[in-house]
């Protein structure tokens, strides 16, 4: 083609050769080559290639979809969870908005208006039973918040009832749900709602606020809308038969004290409304900060409010900071107190022990691979079965067997004592510590080292070492300068396999690791299944993933990833 000679052509003859003539012809007309049907050669080639690619894509599509769904999607979800923090702003939207202007560094508590917003938020949240979830979430950051929220959820209803009671005492009209419906809903909706039968299977007609009243009582209408939506869509109850939340009464009180123009209103319940408007000024009021303090003194603590503010954004780096023994404070990230640091040490331990395991796998596996590769095929196959045997035994059985072997009263200690190497009263602690994890994991991961080593060594012809010896190299030099470099790809492949497997290993450290021999994966598992702090688990997992990718990248830079051979 017209760009043919740049990379390939060994012949640099510039005279008139047939090749050069063709090249010159190509250059001369300078337009693109045309295919038989007149389209450019390039586009018809592309078309042919596209069809091939499409067919290839269709062949791998099932696997691709499978991998996307079962591998990529969970990883993406994990990465998302590690920063996701919408629960705070979803559950306490008004409080979060109110806290925006609060100076968290100062010494003062937020405004009473913020407390009022908190009241509204918690009231709605406890109706929806969301406040405990938020409590557990924030408890990860500040202990005690969980019980604070649970307690507040229980008692917040009482706060609103102060107004509810006063309205109801003023006029029985306010007691009844149907009156509220008539006051706030459109007549058309009201008719439909009253005609609706619960058992009919038809959808409940959604509440429609009446514009005239919404203009007069905006907060009441909005709160009632939330209530109606909750009853109709979440509780699946008949709105016609429900009395409103205490929160609606507070909203009504707020509207009326804010100077709602009730005189201009003439619809249903106008007289009762006017009566109430006249009466509110004499109502007993609720002081929200004090009311919250009565629920729990913690609401007077700056810590709680700071935590709320720090974790109010939709996305947070908090989980990641926690994963590296830091925490989010109002002044930005800060190290945790010494006695609470834990994860960095665990990461280091995981990396270190994985390295030790990889190293011992190389040390033990290399000679085995070498012998296997240099034995006659028949013997090698037999030995290979022995290498693979562990694969056919359950992981749990193998690990438990190590437990039996390594205990203080186990086979190994017994033998050592019997041989007189170890005194009976100072038996070695081989299990429930790092030694146990390293021994058991080296054994379990050894085949992953031997197999790539073997398949690479199998392809190194014996003539190289012979050549080296004939050239004057001693056995050692021949091995080290000629054989070993050619087996490095096998070591690389085996090491990557073993290291990456061990860095995320869970079962074996869990069983034989005790307290000092566990890995970061055990902590991840703990957060997923016991503490339910999935965000932290996700952040730890994401860091692990990043570490592995980083190491992989370093390996590629130093050794070169094309230097990794699993066989052939």
């Amino acid at each position: 083609m017209s760009n043919g000679s740049a990379t390939t052509g060994p012949d640099q003859i510039t005279g008139a050769t047939p090749d050069n003539a063709m090249r010159n012809a190509d250059r001369a007309d300078s337009g693109p080559m045309l295919a038989a049907d007149g389209t450019t050669l390039k586009s018809s080639l592309n078309r042919a290639l596209r069809r091939q690619k499409l067919r290839a894509l269709m062949l791998i599509a099932p696997l691709l979809i499978f991998v996307l769904l079962t591998f990529i999607a969970p990883i993406a979800d994990m990465l998302f969870r590690s920063v996701e923090n919408q629960i705070v702003s979803d559950t306490l939207p008004r409080t979060v908005a109110a806290l925006k202007d609060w100076d968290a560094d100062g010494e003062t508590l937020p405004e009473p208006a913020t407390f009022k917003a908190l009241y509204t938020d918690i009231f709605i949240a406890q109706e929806r039973k969301l406040h405990t979830r938020l409590g557990s979430r924030l408890n990860y950051e500040l202990t005690g918040v969980s019980s604070l929220f649970r307690k507040s959820g229980r008692k917040v209803e009482d706060m609103g009832e102060v107004y509810q009671d006063q309205f109801e005492d003023l006029n029985g009209y306010w007691k009844k749900g149907e009156n509220w419906n008539a006051l706030l809903g459109t007549p058309a909706w009201l008719e439909a709602q009253n005609a609706w039968e619960e058992d009919s299977g038809a959808a409940q007609p959604a509440f429609e606020p009446r514009p005239e009243i919404a203009a007069v009582l905006p907060q009441t209408t909005a709160t009632f809308e939330i209530f109606a939506d909750f009853v109709q869509n979440e509780d699946k109850d008949n709105l016609a038969k429900k009395d409103p939340w205490a929160l609606v009464y507070s909203a009504l009180y707020d509207d009326l004290t804010a100077g709602a123009d009730v005189a201009a209103y003439a619809g249903p319940g106008a007289t009762e409304l006017q009566e109430a408007a006249a009466a509110v000024s004499g109502f007993e009021t609720v002081d929200f900060p004090t009311a919250f303090e009565d629920i729990d003194e913690d609401w007077q603590s700056l810590d709680v409010w700071q935590t709320l503010k720090v974790y109010s954004p939709n996305f947070t780096s908090g989980y990641f900071l926690n994963s590296i023994d830091m925490q989010k404070t109002v002044d930005g990230p800060a190290l945790r107190p010494e006695n609470q640091r834990f994860y960095v040490m665990l990461f280091m331990r995981t990396l270190f022990m994985s390295l030790v395991i990889t190293g011992s796998c190389i040390l033990l596996g290399y000679p085995v691979g070498y012998i296997l590769a240099n034995l006659p095929a028949k013997t090698a196959n037999l030995l290979m079965i022995l290498v693979l045997l562990p694969f056919w035994t359950s992981l749990l059985v193998r690990t438990s067997a190590w437990k039996v072997m390594l205990q203080q009263q186990g086979v190994i200690n017994d033998t050592l004592v019997w041989l007189g190497i170890v005194a009976d009263d100072s038996r070695l602690a081989l299990i429930n510590n790092q030694t146990g994890t390293i021994i058991a994991m080296t054994h379990i991961l050894l085949p992953f080292m031997i197999l790539p080593l073997y398949s690479v060594m199998k392809t190194i012809p014996p003539s190289y070492v012979r050549a080296a010896k004939s050239l004057g190299a001693t056995n050692w030099t021949a091995f080290w300068r000629v054989y070993f470099p050619q087996s490095v790809p096998g070591i690389g492949a085996g090491s990557i396999l073993v290291f990456i497997l061990s860095i995320g290993y869970y079962i074996t450290p869990e069983i034989v690791g005790g307290r000092t021999g566990v890995f970061i994966s055990n902590q991840i598992a703990y957060h997923i299944s016991s503490s339910l702090n999935w965000g932290l688990a996700a952040a730890l997992g994401a860091i692990l993933l990043a570490v592995v990718l980083g190491l992989y990248w370093t390996y590629d830079k130093i050794v070169g990833i094309d230097n990794v051979k699993l066989g052939g």
């Binding site: 012809p461 003539s463 190289y464 012979r466 050549a467 080296a468 010896k469 004939s470 050239l471 004057g472 190299a473 001693t474 056995n475 030099t477 021949a478 300068r481 000629v482 470099p485 050619q486």
Partner: protein
């Protein structure tokens, strides 16, 4: 150069036997002595034990019986890396993870040579095989012929006294083979190196060597300079293995004055030189080279026995004519004649008389 310059053998195989499995002998009773500076070729069909002999000499296999001596010392007492034997392997065995220059400097490095000396020697060795510009390349980036040259210069760079080459040209095309054959012999002679060369290409063996050892069945069938090997094969295996050859089966009638009368199975009688036959009544296979057959009566001695032959095919090959005849009931008898102006061109169907000098027709074992 059939005799050693100083009288003693440089390399010596003394009644060497080798068995890999304890059941069959791959090498049976091998006796061979090589003077310094000789170019010896081991020639033989596949599986005849050539590589095995080389490996024993290089020290990678041990002889089951017998002794191999290098410069008077038994080789079993010298570890491979101390033998100072350069070796070119059947598949070159250039270290793939080193560049060409590193490959060449490897034997010098393990001998503890200084860096500057090494560089100078490597450069010289590369220039010797006209590969001076290729020092920085990896073996995988070289063509087969180039790899071959590098393998050769690597085997020579540390100036060994003995070089072993195992079918080094086996994978190359004819043209390149011929060039490299020439280069190898030249180098070997220039540097005065003793060379043991293995091949199963007889042309290669004949053109390159001082002496050729023809192997078959784990034994040396004949050890002789190329011309002797071709013209005076000592048994019918060698006769058939080297070059083109006509054979006729018969029985010795009588031996007189160094000439044997052989009665062929068809009843015809011919003259032959007795090689492996000693008394009348023995079965024999007579062998005659196609170019030694004569059908021009004038050139034969008057009392020579002749045979009737029918021309089956005449092939014009440029420099020679190749004629296939039916002789004594066999129709694969070939005659080659030089394309000369006075040469008669035979026509298929023609019947002629053929004969030869008695010493060109060898009565070998049956």
């Amino acid at each position: 150069m059939t005799t050693s310059s100083n009288g003693t053998a440089f390399v010596e195989f003394d009644r060497v036997q080798k068995s890999y499995d304890g059941e069959t002998l791959v090498v049976k009773d091998l006796n061979l002595s090589l003077p310094q500076g000789e170019f010896l070729t081991m020639l033989g069909p596949s599986g005849s034990g050539k590589t095995t002999c080389l490996m024993m000499l290089a020290g990678f296999e041990t002889a089951t019986h017998g002794d191999i001596r290098l410069d008077g010392k038994s080789i079993n007492n010298i570890p491979p890396h101390k033998r100072g034997i350069g070796m070119v392997f059947q598949n070159y065995a250039l270290f793939p993870h080193m560049t060409v220059a590193e490959n060449l400097s490897f034997p010098l490095e393990v001998r503890g040579m200084s860096k500057s000396d090494r560089e100078a020697k490597v450069k010289r060795a590369l220039d010797m095989v006209q590969m001076g510009d290729f020092g920085g390349r990896r073996p995988a980036q070289l063509s087969g012929g180039q790899q071959q040259r590098i393998a050769l210069s690597r085997a020579l760079v540390f100036e060994p006294e003995l070089v072993l080459m195992d079918e080094p040209l086996g994978a190359l095309d004819k043209q390149l083979r011929e060039t490299l054959q020439f280069e190898i012999t030249n180098l070997a002679h220039e540097l005065g190196i003793t060379t043991v060369y293995v091949t199963h290409d007889q042309t290669e063996a004949l053109t390159m060597s001082d002496r050729v050892a023809v192997f078959d069945d784990g034994r040396i069938q004949q050890l002789a300079p190329p011309d002797k090997l071709y013209e005076e094969p000592e048994n019918s295996f060698v006769a058939q293995f080297i070059g083109e050859n006509n054979t006729l089966l018969g029985t010795v009638k009588e031996i007189k004055d160094g000439i044997a009368l052989v009665e062929l199975d068809g009843g015809e009688v011919i003259d032959a030189k007795p090689i492996n036959v000693s008394q009348p009544g023995e079965r024999t296979r007579v062998s005659i080279r196609p170019e030694r057959v004569e059908y021009n009566k004038d050139r034969l001695s008057p009392d020579a026995h002749t045979l009737k032959a029918e021309v089956l095919e005449f092939i014009y090959m440029g420099d020679i004519f190749r004629t296939r005849l039916r002789v004594a009931g066999k129709d694969d008898f070939v005659v080659k004649t030089r394309n000369a102006p006075d040469q008669r061109r035979l026509k298929p169907g023609e019947t002629i008389e053929i004969g030869w000098l008695a010493q060109d027709c060898r009565a070998l074992d049956a």
